[in-house]
Symmetry: C2
Subunit: 589 residues, 2 copies
C-alpha cells in the first residue's frame, strides 16, 4: 500500500464542483430521491419510476459468481430489494413509466476483482437504471465500488409492489478514503450481534472503517491465542469476551459489507485490565484514580480505573509482542492502532523502578521513547502501518519527538483542538485521521458519570454566563455539549490547510466512548449522527454552488433515519415526525 | 378527594429522621440489598437468605382473591418471583439459613380493599420475612400499599435456585403522594406497548402517576368518540392513534400496577393539530413559526408548528367541551391536566377577530381569562381537579390573576425558575407539582433540532467561557445541560419553603418531551433517571444522619439498572461495568 493517500479531499472537491450536472432540479429531486449519502453525481432529467419484476435478480458475471465477498453481498441485496417494500414517510410522486414494463435485473460488471479492501481502494461506481429496458447496470472498478453501488440501488427501491427510480444515471466515488466509526468495547461490553449490526449499518451509510477500540483499563475482552490470561482475568467474564472465532466472523462480515475492521490495542496507557494476568508489568494498577488531597495533575489516571504498562520491564514487551502478533493474525487490515494516548505521569511515578529511573536523570519522555522504540519496529515488521493517537507526539506532558515516528510507518489520529492539531500534524508531514472531540465525539454532553459528585447537590440553577459552574455549565461532561448531526455534518476536516496538507488528511471517524453506553443504547448514540459523517466524508457537505447543504440534507437524513429503523437499527429521531410531512417548516428560518 | 394533601414532604421527612433504626449497618446492607427505591425503614439485624420453595406462592385472603387490580398483580409477581432468577452483578454474600428450610409463601393482608388509587392514598406497607418459618407477611392498609410491598419483595429475591433475604422487617411509605413521569406522545408517537412498558417500569420504581401529554400542535393521536375527526385529521395516521380501547387498556394496566394515568389535553396553546378538523377555531395554524425578519417576540409559536385555540369563537368551546367530556369518560383519574402553557401573543394577534378585539381595547390577558372562565367550571363540574402549567398565572406576557383560579379546584405544575416558582406558587396558596426544567427535564442537553441552523457551521470550537456562543455553549438545547441521575436525585423540591408551603408540594415529575425521542430511544431517555426521581420522592435523598446519600445510592442504582434491563427495559448504563465490581473506585473522591 502506498504510504500516501491516493484520494484527497481537496482535489476531488474541486472536481466535484466542476463536474456535477444536477443544477436546478435538486429541490425536486431531493423530495423524490432520499439517497444517503447523496452520490457525487446524479442525472435524472425526467424523474420516473419503474416497477420491479417479482423475479428481479442481480446478475454477476460468471467470473464474479463465487467471489468471496461480493457474492454473499449480492444475495443479501437481492433479498433486501425484493422484500423490503419500504414506504417513505413522504411517498414519492414520480410517475410510473408503464406498468407493463418491469425491471428484470441489475447487471454488475467489475474490472478488478482482486483489489483488497485497503485505504484508498477505488470505491467508485456508475449506476444506470433505464426507463425502458429490462436491466439496470452497475459498473465498478473493484468489488468494493460494486458494494457501494448496490446500496445506492437498494435505496432507490421503495413501495409495495416494489418500484425503482428510473431514467437515472449515477456516478459516484468518495471524497475521503477513511470513513469510520470508533466503538469502545472496553468501558462497557457489546455483544457480537451489536458489532455486526453496527457494521451493517455503516455499510448502508458507505462508511468503511470500523475502528474497534477493543481494550482499555476497565476490561480486556479479546481472547488471544498466545495470551489467553489477559481476557481470562481482564474481561468482564466469560459471557463478555470476543473469541478468535468471533473476531473472524466480525472481520469476514466486515469484508462482505465493505467495512475494514481496524483493531486498537491501547498501550502503554489505558492498560489497567492487563494487571489481572500480569501485575508485574502494570504500574499503579487498582489504585484510586484521583485521591483526595492529591493535585489533579498528580492523579493516577484520566478516569477510573488506573494502570499503565511499565516501559522498563522486558516482560512488558514479551507480552505486548505476543498481543501484537496475535492481533495481526486475527485482523488482516494493514492498519494496527497502537493507542498511546493519555499517559498520566502520576501512574508511572507511582512505580519504584520508574522512580529510580527518574531519580537517576531519566525523563518521562524517555520512558515513552523506550516504549515506542521497542514496539513500533515490531508493528512495522508485521507489515502494519501503526496508527497512534496524536498524544504520542503532541501531549503537553509526555511525548516523543517526531524523529521516533517515521511518517511512512505512522499515521496520527487527532482528537484535540479541532483544526489546529490537524494542521500541526500535517505540517510535520504525517497522515492524519480526524476525530476531533469538539465535533466527532458521540458520547459528549451526557453529563458526568463519576459517583459521589457533590457538585450536583445544588438547589438553584446557576445563572447563565457562568460556564465554570459545573452543573449550569457543562453538566459534568468534559466535552459538552452534545454533538448534533449538523455539527458533525458541517465540519470541514481540511479547514485551514493548503493543498499539500489536505492531501495528508485520510478522512474522519466519529467515536463512541462507552462510559455511558452499552448494547441498550448503542444504536441511538451512533445513528443517525454517524450518517452525517458518512455523507460529509463521501460526497461532502456542500451543494453544487459551494453552499453548505445542511438545510436540504435534513430532509433526506430524516427519511433515511426512518429507513434505517425499518431495517432494524434503532437510530434516534432528529425531529418531530411533523417536520417530515411539513418540509422546511421546522427550519430556523 | 381532599383538596389538600394528606401527605407532605416536610413532616414525614422529620419522621423519617427520627424513626429510622438502621444505623451503622447501612454500608454492609447496601452491598447485600439492592432495593430501589430504598424503603424508609429496614431492620435486618442478622443478614441471611432463605431458599424459595419451588412451589412458593403468594396468598391473598379469600376476600381479596378476586380483587380487580390486586389479584392480577399477585399472579404477575408470583410468576416473576418464581422465574426471574436474577443474578446481581455483585453476588450477595449473605449466608443461607438452612437449605432444608424454604420459604413457602407470602401472605398478604389488606385492611381497606376499596380505597381508590387517588392522590395521597395510603401506600404504606410492612413486610416481614422470617429466618425460620414458612411464610412471609405483607400487610398494607390498601391494595396500593400491597402492590408496593410486592415489588419490594420481588427485589429481595435473586439467584438460581431462587433465594430471598430473610430475617428482615420493612416498614415503608412514600414521602410524596405524586411521583410521576410525563411522556409527550404528540411530537412523536409511541406504541401502546411502549406506554405499557413505561408504566410497568414506573411501578417497579414505585412511581405512581403517568402524566400523559397526549396532544400538541404536531399531532392529535387520541381518538375521541364525540370528536373523531380530531385524530382522523390531526394524528400522524391510522397506525399512530390511540383508540378508546387502547386508552382503556392503558388505564386498566396502570391500575393493576398502581399507576394513575393523568391525561393532558393542552389548550389553548399547542393546538395546531386541531386545525385539521376545525380550522375555524385555531389561530395562526400552519404558518412558519418564526419568519425571517420578524422579531423573536413576535413569532407564532415557541417551536414549530403553530396554532392556538381562538377564545372568542363559541365553537371553540363546543369542541373543547366534547373533548373534555370524552377524556373524563376515558380516564377515571380525578386530575385533568388542561395545559395552558406557552401562549404566544403573535399567534392570537395573527387572527382578524382577535385583532379586532384587541383594537377595541381587549387584552391578551382577557382572552385567556375568557378561555379559563369558559372551561375551568366545566372541568370542575365533571369532578375533576384541573392541573395547569404555571404559565397560566406566571407567564410574563399572557396570564390570568389568581382570582380566576380557585385553589381548591386548581393545581399548578411548575417548570421554570427552579425553587423560585415553587415558592411563588405555594405562597399564593396553590398546590404544586414540581417538574423544574433545570432538574427534571429528560430531553435537555441533546442539542438543537431545528433544521437549517447555520450556527452549527463553525469550524473552530468556541473558547471556554463563552456560553452565549451557540455551539460552544448550550449546543442548541434551550435547557442544556443534560440532567444526570445525580442532578435529579439531589434536588429538594421543598427547598426554601416553610412548613406550610411544603405541605402544598404534592410531589414531582420528570418529563420527556419528544421532539428528539420516540419508541427507538424511549427506555434509555427515561431510565434509570426516572428511578432517581422514584427514590427521592419515595424515601428521600438523605441517609439517617441527614446527609445526602448519592454516594451510596449509585451502587444500588447501578444494580437496579441491570435488573431493569433483565426485566426488559433498556435503561442506559450510568458507568462502566467495572465501577460495579470496584465499588467506590469510580467516585469523584
Amino acid at each position: 500500500m502506498s504510504p500516501f493517500p491516493a484520494l484527497h479531499g481537496v482535489s476531488l472537491f474541486f472536481f466535484f464542483f466542476t463536474s456535477l450536472y444536477i443544477t436546478t432540479e435538486i429541490t425536486t429531486v431531493q423530495s423524490q430521491i432520499n439517497l444517503w449519502p447523496l452520490p457525487r453525481n446524479i442525472s435524472w432529467p425526467n424523474p420516473q419510476a419503474t416497477l420491479l419484476s417479482p423475479t428481479f435478480e442481480i446478475i454477476l458475471s460468471p467470473a464474479l459468481n463465487n467471489h468471496l465477498y461480493l457474492s454473499p453481498a449480492v444475495s443479501r441485496y437481492n433479498l433486501l430489494i425484493l422484500t423490503e417494500h419500504y414506504q417513505p414517510v413522504l411517498t414519492p410522486t414520480v410517475n410510473l413509466t408503464n406498468s407493463t414494463l418491469t425491471l428484470q435485473s441489475l447487471t454488475i460488471t467489475v474490472a478488478d476483482q482482486t483489489a483488497p479492501l485497503h485505504y484508498a481502494v477505488d470505491e467508485s461506481y456508475t449506476l444506470n437504471i433505464p426507463t425502458v429496458g429490462s436491466s439496470a447496470n452497475l459498473t465498478a472498478n473493484t468489488v468494493w465500488g460494486a458494494l457501494r453501488g448496490l446500496e445506492t440501488f437498494s435505496q432507490l427501491v421503495w413501495g409495495n409492489p416494489s418500484r425503482v427510480m428510473s431514467g437515472l444515471d449515477v456516478w459516484d466515488a468518495p471524497l475521503y478514503g477513511h470513513r469510520g466509526v470508533l466503538l469502545d468495547t472496553a468501558r462497557n461490553y457489546y455483544a457480537v450481534s451489536d458489532i455486526l449490526r453496527t457494521i451493517k449499518t455503516m455499510s448502508a451509510n458507505k462508511l468503511n472503517v470500523f475502528h474497534w477500540h477493543i481494550t482499555d483499563s476497565q476490561s480486556f475482552p479479546l481472547v488471544l491465542p498466545s495470551e489467553p490470561e489477559l481476557a481470562q482475568k481482564g474481561s468482564y467474564g466469560l459471557a463478555m469476551q470476543y473469541s478468535p472465532e468471533d473476531v473472524k466472523m466480525i472481520v469476514e462480515f466486515g469484508l462482505e459489507h465493505g467495512v475494514r475492521v481496524m483493531p486498537e490495542i491501547d498501550a502503554p496507557g489505558h492498560t489497567g485490565s492487563w494487571a489481572g494476568a500480569y501485575p508485574e508489568i502494570v504500574t499503579c494498577a487498582n489504585m484510586f484514580w484521583s485521591p483526595p488531597g492529591t493535585p489533579y495533575a498528580d492523579r493516577y489516571a484520566s478516569e477510573p480505573g488506573t494502570g499503565q504498562l511499565n516501559p522498563l520491564i522486558p516482560e512488558t514487551y514479551e507480552v505486548l509482542k505476543n498481543v501484537i502478533n496475535d492481533v495481526a493474525g486475527l485482523f488482516p487490515d494493514p492498519y494496527y492502532h497502537a493507542g498511546a494516548d493519555e499517559i498520566v505521569p502520576g501512574c508511572w511515578e507511582a512505580d519504584p523502578t520508574i522512580q529510580n529511573y527518574l531519580s537517576n536523570g531519566g525523563t518521562l519522555d524517555q520512558l515513552l521513547e523506550t516504549f515506542i522504540n521497542s514496539t513500533l519496529p515490531y508493528i512495522s515488521s508485521l507489515n502494519r502501518t501503526a496508527v497512534y493517537w496524536e498524544d504520542v507526539m503532541l501531549d503537553a506532558t509526555v511525548n516523543v519527538t517526531s524523529s521516533f515516528l517515521p511518517p511512512d510507518k505512522v499515521i496520527l489520529q487527532t482528537w484535540n483542538n479541532g483544526p489546529n492539531n490537524t494542521q500541526l500534524i500535517v505540517s510535520k508531514g504525517y497522515r492524519v485521521i480526524v476525530s476531533s472531540a469538539d465535533f466527532y465525539y458521540l458520547d459528549c454532553g451526557h453529563g458526568g458519570w463519576l459517583g459521589n459528585d457533590s457538585r450536583y447537590d445544588e438547589q438553584v440553577e446557576d445563572p447563565p454566563g457562568q460556564p465554570f459552574n459545573y452543573v449550569g455549565g457543562d453538566g459534568g461532561s468534559w466535552c459538552d455539549p452534545y454533538k448534533t448531526w449538523q455539527r458533525i455534518y458541517d465540519y470541514d476536516i481540511t479547514y485551514g490547510l493548503n493543498e499539500t496538507g489536505a492531501k495528508l488528511v485520510l478522512g474522519g471517524e466519529v467515536a463512541l466512548w462507552s462510559e455511558q453506553a452499552d448494547s441498550t443504547v448503542l444504536d441511538g448514540r451512533i445513528w443517525p449522527r454517524a450518517s452525517a459523517l458518512g455523507e460529509t466524508m463521501w460526497s461532502g457537505n456542500r451543494d453544487e454552488t459551494g453552499k453548505k447543504r445542511y438545510a436540504e440534507a435534513i430532509n433526506r437524513l430524516n427519511e433515511w433515519r426512518y429507513r434505517m429503523v425499518s431495517r432494524g437499527t434503532m437510530a434516534e429521531p432528529l425531529q418531530p415526525l411533523w417536520c417530515l410531512t411539513h418540509l422546511g417548516m421546522c427550519n430556523l428560518d
